[in-house]
Structures are given as structure tokens and as C-alpha cells.
Amino acid sequence: MGKIIGIDLGTTNSCMAFAAGGDPDVITNKEGNRTTPSIVALTSDNKEELVGISAKNQMVTNPAQTFYSIKRLIGRRWDEVGSEGDNKRLPFEVRKSKKGGVEVKFGDSWLAPEAVSAKVLAKLKSDAEAFLGETVTEAVITVPAYFDDSQRQATKNAGKIAGLEVKRIINEPTAAALAYGLDKKEDKLIAVYDLGGGTFDISILEIGDGVFEVKSTNGDTHLGGDDFDEAIIDWLVDDFKKEQNIDLREDPAALQRLKEAAEKAKITLSTTEKTEINLPYITADANGPKHMRKDFTRADLERLVGDLVAKTFEPVKKALKDAGVDKSEIEDVVMVGGMTRMPMVTRQVKEFFGKDPHQGVNPDEVVAIGAAIQGAVLAGDSSVSDITLLDVTPLTLGLETLGGIRTPLIERNTTIPTEKTQVFSTAADNQTAVEIHVLQGEREMAKDNKTLGRFMLEGIPPAPRGIPQVEVSFKIDANGILNVSARDKASGKEQSITITASTQLDDSEVDALVKEAAEKASEDKQNKERIEAKIEAESLVLQLEKFVDEMKDKLDDADKEALKKAADELKELYSKDDYDAAAVKEKTKEVSTLLQEKGAAMYAKAAEEVEKEETGSSEEADVQEGEVIEPDDSSKK
């Protein structure tokens, strides 16, 4: 069975998504964009059909044959469309069909709205096939919750005309709730606040046992982001007129630039407090070019669009009243549509419902994502229904290594089940036991993290430091149970511990710990580097002493003395309580270079002697290739 894609067939833009391996993602169209304008055009010579961005690009040149907002017409009766005035707002010809429905003049013929929507769906299908590299024949399409049977049937027919078997038509708010996995939880009431480019919808849903019931819907079919942009443009135009006495509305090129700048500023002010509208050479008069430069703050924006945001709460109140529920009974609020990124919108929704709305999923894509999840469930991909059960590790899991350093094994936010194995070694010669100290947290030093457990691995055969290989494995199963085991590779001795509460932390606890780690990150890093500098120096001194001892017959006294002196100087540096890490590092480097020089000189001397010996012998040396054992992890247990 192929993939069942999810399609959010929007009034202004459409979006499609699919679920792979239980993880839904948006499908980009042929032009590389994540959304596609729901616009179809027939070129003036009636020769070519354009769909999406190219249809939008030629809109002003060909208004009578550019079809947009078709969703306002699909499956509707002529008298409904006429009474709401939608037919008069549209620049293309619309008339009553023989059956009492609506049809639009498309070239020389008349088409039902679903036939026009089908052209958008056909492009989405073709782009999805190019993206996925396989044929797509099935889809789940979303519609507004208020769509009646006839509108749903017409949408389904549009899919059929486009060559898609519509496996299910689902409500847009339901899809949004699915994207947040809200179907997985207990029975509850949720509100879906959807403020898009051109329309506002509010839906009150009841969820229970994975079944969604629409309790009520309301909205404003002509309120959206475009109205917000218009309010900004009006303000800029009026201001410019006052200052320069030039009406930019009469200059289409200037107006186009203003529209882009207004939208950009609106988006910027969602994340910053202040921006600047900077449009050099916006227009010109007899006195020369004119520029527009204006500071624009979030407060200015909120003053301009405050009424528009307030306007959304009337339908919200009506929807709650129709559903017969009080706003305090709403347990989850889901935000849909690009305009819900605006802090003022989120703030007022939060104030109204008294709780933080869900915002994690891109509000432009959340409906398509939900549709894709539904599609994957219908295709029998059980991984999708399980996916929200796949937890993540809330904090990093690791163990204590030499010098009290925390060495991470499983980073925070890793999806479980997972496992990680790393080989450690001993810190001292003839060390026969190692302690495995299991830690949870984000801090660099072991002492600053939470101890989850500790155990000893004993019976390691005596050997020089760094030689034993102790393999430590961290395994977390799907239930968050952590099993830590340590095994000495040489003796096969093994010990383990099972920790059950590695993922049971509430969000505030996790946030506080992560915040603390971020605040102390620089201090922790310095501490860690300081200790590492000492460990490296100690290790070098041991190496040097071993070298001197093993080569005592081959090194001359001057070399031995030089090496010993260097080692003593280094020891003296790091032995002080308040040792200077930079000085230790510098000296370590110096001693390391000296040791290498002496080693190289000794090898050169040895090679000379071998050469002398070989001159008297014709036998070929029997060279055996040696195996170089890569050093283990630099962290030594």
C-alpha cells in the first residue's frame, strides 16, 4: 500500500504532509515551498492552465480568468452564495448551475467549483509524487468543521477528479488536535482557535476514546492576516500623505512594496519589540525621489490591530454558548493559522481561556500534519498511533569519570528506546575495581548532577592504568527504564543496575535544571577544562616517568636529568590547590615536546646501531607488522 498523504485544502493556501516512520512532515511543492496558493488560472489565450504561485503571479493581468477563494463556493447552493455576497466579491464570473449550485466561467466553458479545486489537488498530487518518488493515489483532505454534507461531498469529488481516492474527509480542528496528539489523552473539551490569512474559525470539540465530536463552530469568514496587513498599510499611507502630500495608494509599485514591508514588519514584531520600515525611493515627485523610513514598534502594531484581535472573541463566546460549556471547562486550546504567532493574539487567547495554548507545531502546517497522521493510521501504519508514546530522555544521562567530570552517554531529548556503549579504562596502575556512578543532568561536573545509582565492578585483572577495557552500556527501554551495565572485556566480569525513574520528571523540574545548566555553562566549562588540564598533565608525568624508567640504560644522564626536571616543574604547577590551568596546559605542551624529542633521538640512535650491525649480515630482517590499538575514550575511569 502506498502512502496516504494529508492535504489541508485552504481558502488562500494549501499544504500537504505525509508520515514516514511515524514522524509526519510537510511535503514541499515543485517550487520548493511548503504551501501552495489555492489559485488556478487560464491564460488569456486560453491555452495554458496555471496552478499555484504562477497563477498568483499573473493575477492582476488576468483577473477574469484567475480563480481564487474557490473554497468559499465549493458544494454550496447559489442562493447561499448570493446572500453572503461572495459571488460579487470575486472578479471572475459566477452563475447558478442547472441544479441550483454554483459554477464559474472557465475559458469558454462553465465548471463546478470542485472541478477547479481539483486542479489545485492535481498539482499537489503531482508535486507529492515528485517529492516522495512514488505514485500517490490516496489522501485525507481537511475541511472546516462548519462544512455541510454537500460541501464535504464536493470536496471529496474534487479529490476524485484529481485522481485521488479520498480515504477520509476530516475537520480542520480535528486534524490540528491530532497533530498535538490530543486524541491520546482522557476525555476532554478543547477549543481550536484558527486565525488564517483570510478567515477566522473557532471550534469547540469533545474528545473521548479517540472520537472527536464537534460541539460547536463559529467564526468570521472575512477576517484574517490580510486585514492586519491592510491596517498597517493604511497607517503608513496616511502618514506619508501627511508628510509628503503624496497618496501612495495611487502608485501600484509603491503599494506592492508597502504590502511586502507591512507583512514583513508584522512577522518581525512577533519576535522583536521594534523594527524599521525602510523603503528608499518609494516614489518621486518634481522635487526628486522620496524615501520612507519609519520606526515601528510592537506597541504601534497592537494599537493598529487591537480591534481586529478583539473581533475574534465575539465568535469565541458564541461558540462556547452554543456548545453549552463554560470557558473554564476547556482543557486544551490549539492555535492554528499564521496569525496566531502574533504575541498579542496568544496573550489574549491565554487571558480569555486562562491557560497557555498549544503552539509547538507550525500553525500554518498543523492541519496538514494532522491529516497526514490520520492518513498514516488509515494506511495501517501503527507506528503513528504509537508515536506519541515514544518518550524522550528529559535530561542527559552519563557517568562520573576521572577528576569528578560528568561524561555524557545519552544526551537529553534522545528518543527512547535507545542504547549507547562506550569503553572506559582505569585511572591507576593495578586498579582492580571501578565505580560506575550513574548521573542525570546537564552540568559538566559530576557533583552538580543527580545521582541515579552507583555500583562497583570488581575483579579486573591487575594491569597498568589505561590498559583494562571496561565496556559501559546504557540501555533505556520504551518505558523509560534504564539499565546500566559494565563489563571487563578481559575477564568477562559484569555488573549492572536498573533504574526505573530516569524519565519521570515533570516539565517544570526539567526546565529548572536545564535553565540552571545554561546559566552555569561557562563556569562549568572552565571548571571542566581546568580539571582536564590537570588530568592531562598527570598522565604525561606518569608516561614520562615510565619512559625514563624503562629506558634508563639507553638514556644518558643529561637527558634523564632534563626530563626529570621538566616533570618536577610540571608537577609543582598542578599540585597547588589554586593551580593556573593555562600555565599547566602550556607547560604540558612543552614537556610533551621534550619527551617526543628525546624519544625520537633514542630511536634514531637505535636505528644507527642496527644499521651498523646489518652491514655485517646479509640476512633480511624479518619485519612483523604490529597492530596499533587505538586509545579508548580519552575519559579514564
Binding site: G21, G22, D23, E31, G32, A41, T43, S44, L50, S54, A55, K56, N57, Q58, M59, V60, T61, P252, A253, Q256, S383, D386, I387, L390, N413, T414, T415, I416, P417, T418, D477, A478
Partner: protein, 176 residues
């Protein structure tokens, strides 16, 4: 007795069948558990892989941005120079020359990052794939219909041929 014996043997057979079935059930249950565990593991691995890829992508983006920032900083220096020298001894022609050079350099940077100017000239046929009509003006003849009258801003395409930004144009519209 015969009946009893038969019954006994059938009980024995039943017990054997039950034992075999139970063994088989246990075996299948264990297989199912293993398969389920493997599936969850594969899914978790996939999600972790995606997280890793996202992190790598973010790092690559950061690196690409740094390269672009270096090039732009260079151009901003040139621009400051041109502002500094404007209105001095250099005549308008020299200043224009300088500005043209800065502009060429900027176009070079865009080319380096894979952006190319979409060549659009007045009189070209309007192409909705690469151009966006911001308004129309009356055409003088039918032949002029749907052609570019004026280029308001340049368009750019990426090296893979996809349009990064359409050219904003004013088109001619013929009404008989």
C-alpha cells in the same frame, strides 16, 4: 473399562495438544514482543537520526551564513567608501563608476551563493513562472499585449533553476 482407557488416552492427547499449543503461544508471544521492541527501537533510532540531521543542518546553515556575512561585510566597506567620497572632488561619473563596481561585486556574491539574476527586459513576453505582474498599463497595440512594459524589481533564481524571487513587472494589456 475400554471406555475409560479411551478417555484416558484422549485426555493424554488433549494434554499434549494443550502443552504444544501453550508452547506455541509462548513462542509467538515472545516473537511478538521482540518484533514490537525492534519496531520501537527502529522508530526511536529514526527519530534520533532526524534530530542529529537537524542539528547538522543548523550547523551547516550557520557556517554558510558566516561565509555570506564575510562577503557582505566587504561590500559594506566599499559602500562606506563611496558615501565618504560622494560630493568630493570626484565628479558624478566617477561616483557612478564606483557604485557600479560595488553593485557588480554584490552580484558576484549572489552568484557565489547560487543566486542568478533573471534577465527580464522591456518588451519581453510576460512569464508567470519567473515574473509577478504588480499592475497593468494599456498596450498600444495587440502585439504588445501581455508583454513587460517596465521592470520594477529584479528577480532571482537559484542554481538548481528554481525561482528564488520573481521579477516584479508592469505588463501591457490590450483592450480592443
Amino acid at each position: 473399562m475400554a471406555t475409560d482407557t479411551q478417555s484416558d488416552s484422549s485426555n493424554v492427547r488433549d494434554d499434549t495438544v494443550t502443552d504444544q499449543s501453550n508452547d506455541r503461544i509462548s513462542e509467538l508471544q515472545s516473537q511478538l514482543e521482540q518484533a514490537n521492541e525492534a519496531k520501537l527501537r527502529a522508530l526511536a533510532d529514526f527519530q534520533n537520526y532526524r534530530k542529529r540531521m537537524d542539528a547538522e543542518r543548523a550547523a551547516m546553515k550557520e557556517q554558510a551564513n558566516s561565509m555570506l556575512m564575510h562577503s557582505l561585510a566587504d561590500i559594506i566597506d566599499d559602500y562606506y567608501r563611496s558615501v565618504k567620497h560622494s560630493g568630493k572632488d570626484a565628479g558624478p561619473e566617477k561616483q557612478l563608476d564606483g557604485l557600479s563596481m560595488v553593485f557588480e561585486k554584490l552580484e558576484g556574491v549572489l552568484k557565489d551563493i547560487g543566486l542568478e539574476v533573471i534577465e527580464v527586459n522591456e518588451g519581453d513576453r510576460f512569464d508567470p513562472e519567473t515574473m509577478e505582474a504588480i499592475t497593468t498599463m494599456p498596450a498600444h497595440s495587440e502585439k504588445e499585449d501581455n508583454t513587460v512594459m517596465h521592470v520594477e524589481s529584479k528577480g532571482y533564481k537559484k542554481s538548481n533553476g528554481t525561482v528564488f524571487r520573481t521579477a516584479k513587472v508592469v505588463t501591457a494589456r490590450y483592450q480592443s
